[in-house]
């Protein structure tokens, strides 16, 4: 992060003389503003911009009336936690929450694993069709999966007839669908990272008798932990927020994910009345993302320091 020691002299970008004059109280303040103060102004403005919708959500969550029309930026009619109870009482929120966690957790973990396998092959092995494979991955990635939603709908109609347990209205069907997009998104990113690891590492391991699987699991994977953490986090956030596919897929109340269920809360006539419980749901939904971020941050930091020790 920022280094506060050892640079004050050189950090003075404008390079003027030190402000030591007697009559320079005002001027010094001006100089302080030109060099540091405006940065705080920008920072505060940025924070205000970032925070005010979140404050609004917080205020709506605590609003005892629970309607959109009565919600102000700062709660004026007192504070109540009634919306929390109502959320769990009136909707299947707990169920949606578990569904989302299950789908996003399994999908992000598996997709990171699958694409790291592929990235290892693309980075370390030379085989026929490698170049074609890489290019077609890039191309397929650009075709947004949900443009094919009509075809997917028809295909899964057949699957539901044959195997109802992985068809519509099940988390597993949606999971399979998400895994279809796994390879396209992350493989290039990871391959780039694998390429930066020195080949001597796995070559010496191979010389010592390690199999290709041992090289991958014991040597490569630990070294790319930071990028695994980053892509895992991105995949998790992306899956939690995925709406369109899930909306087509999950229609039963119990099988919905957070995005589908919460979208339904604000539909139709209930839109104004449900705003309070919707705000509560929004805040609760942010929790897993923040937790995953905190959890993975450890790996990101440790990965960076490992790199530093190596020099």
């Amino acid at each position: 992060m920022t280094t506060l020691t050892g640079v004050p002299a050189t950090g003075d970008v404008a390079g003027g003389p030190p402000p030591a004059n007697r009559d320079a109280g005002g001027r010094r303040r001006n100089r302080w503003f030109a060099q540091v103060g405006w940065r705080h102004v920008v920072g505060v403005l940025g924070v205000l911009f970032s925070l005010f919708p979140i404050v609004f959500v917080l205020s709506a969550a605590l609003n005892p009336l629970g309607t959109l029309s009565s919600t102000e930026l700062v709660p004026t009619d007192g504070v109540s936690f009634g919306n929390f109870g109502e959320l769990f009482g009136r909707t299947a929120f707990g169920r949606w929450f578990l569904n989302s966690l299950l789908i996003a957790g399994v999908a992000s973990f598996t997709s990171v694993f699958l694409s790291s396998l592929a990235a290892y092959a693309f980075s370390r092995m030379r085989f026929r069709g490698r170049r074609v494979g890489l290019l077609s991955l890039l191309l397929i990635q650009m075709f947004p999966q949900f443009l094919a939603i009509v075809a997917i709908f028809l295909i899964f109609g057949t699957i539901t007839d044959l195997w109802p347990s992985i068809g519509f209205n099940t988390p597993w069907g949606l999971l399979l669908l998400y895994l279809g997009g796994a390879l396209g998104v992350n493989t290039w990113l990871m391959k780039g990272f694998f390429d930066t690891l020195p080949r001597e590492l796995d070559e010496s391991a191979t010389m010592d008798g390690a199999t290709h699987a041992q090289v991958f699991f014991r040597i490569m994977l630990p070294l790319v932990a930071p990028i695994l953490a980053v892509t895992g986090l991105l995949a998790f956030i992306g899956t939690i927020n995925e709406f369109l596919m899930a909306n087509v897929f999950l229609t039963g109340t119990d099988s919905k994910t957070l995005a589908v269920g919460m979208y339904g809360m604000l539909q139709g006539n209930e839109r104004n009345n449900n705003f309070g419980i919707f705000a509560v749901a929004t805040l609760l939904t942010a929790i897993p993302t923040v937790l995953v971020f905190q959890f993975l941050q450890r790996y990101i930091v440790s990965g960076l320091t490992a790199g530093a020790v190596k020099g």
Binding site: V13, I140, L162, G180, T206, G209, T211
Partner: protein, 546 residues
Amino acid sequence: MSTKLSGPGSVRRNPGRGPAGSGLPRTARNARHHAPITATGLAVKVVLLGLVAGIAIWAAFPLVEAEKWAGLALLAVTTAGLCYLYLTRRHIPAKYLVPGTLFLIAFQIVPVLYTASTAFTNFGDGHRGSKDDAIVAIQTASVKQVPGSAEYALSVATAGDPATGPLIFLVTDPRTGAVSAGDGEGLRQLDAADVTVAPGGKVTAADGYTVLNFGQASARSQEITDLVVPTAGGALRSSGLSRAYEGKAIRAYDAGCDCVKDNETGKTWSADEATGSFVAADGERLAQGWKVNVGLSNFTRVLTDENISGPFLGTLLWNFAFALGSTGGTFILGMFIALALHSPRMRGTNLYRVLLILPYAMPSFAMLLVWRDMFNTDFGLINNLFGLSIDWFGHDWSARFAVILVQLWLGYPYMFLVATGALQAIPRELTEATSVDGASPWQSFRAVTLPLLLVALSPLLISSFAYNFNNFNAIYLTTEGAPFPADNPTNGATDLLITYTYRLAFGAQGAEFGFAAAISLFIFTIVAVVSAVSFRSTRKQEEVYS
């Protein structure tokens, strides 16, 4: 992505990297035969392959039952292939590539190819099935009560839940007293021992069926009216909730003239194989048609049909503006704040950072909906806060401004994060050197910091552009494409191509899957070309700066 696709040196150095046994000469073949087999490796292999075989067997039963032999063959070949691949010592790269590729093929490539193939058909509402299906549908839909048609006592029943289960007609023939059950497939007679018939012929109970009471039946009266049971001489329809009649099909297909003839009016609609519908001499088209290949007409329609090409071009321009505005706006704002906080004399930067990136942690779909309601005209926060009464989503430009503002809020924390990271990676000596040489802060930013930032971030910017180009949620969860011009309810001012496509494919106007697929291919081409060009130019840039 600056990595070389195939370094010629490395290709020659490593032809198929097999695991090498220690102390042996490193020729691939020798190495393979002496690679050690670890116990864990073997155990994992056996367990996983057993799992695959188990899943295959589980999946096979329904296929056998449905007599889908092609699917079964595919399943068998895939399973056998997987077993071979992981039991053999050869094909090492494939071992790593196949798991992801299987999913990719099944759930991405197949749907994409399927979509591409529908782009050349008229697949959609009224053009779903084959010509025979269309003829059956036309004939049964034209069933009318004619003088002398038989009347039956009717009970409505279902085999499932009274509120949702598929409906069954239980009818009693007035002449023979025989009871039959009928659904969309046809009539079949029931055993007299299984049913209880009230005087007057109405069935009150039947084994295996739940007879709907009056309340349940009237709740589903529309479905009951729509149910047509085909019979030998025509079809059976309900008349009220307790009577049914066997009517005659007014319209019949005549194979001789390949046309549909109306027996009452004598009007004929002849089959038009080019459009997949029955057309009368005066140009009237029957609603039921069938699926045919229409060649490139879906693609040319985008360019030639006045009603489509005008809005399409406008949407395309706005789509580019939206993607550029979202990407550029978030980048500029994020970079500006990152620059502002990037100073050794700044205190409290960590606190600023944590607060600034909070929007990134919030679920974006929910925040989009919150923003939609903050722009509400009557009681939205924005209007309340500034004392305005603007109908934000009611005017073209205010709606466009609003959606870009929302994207800015959602996207800039990420750009701020990556820009901070990239700034910290730029050696301080470089900017110090420029200031020693007398450059102003602006000059040093223009000449040193910005180019280095762009090199580091341009792949991210490109993928952000590609993502925003198809940012469905950003529009669908906020404006839903509004405002719409009065004369065109399918294409609004904030519509992106993707939301426009979605409305075409699933909208209330009737589904046009074929046309939607054609537009999908357009979008794909545009995104692919833009990305390819920009990737190429960034590679050039890297050669200049690195």
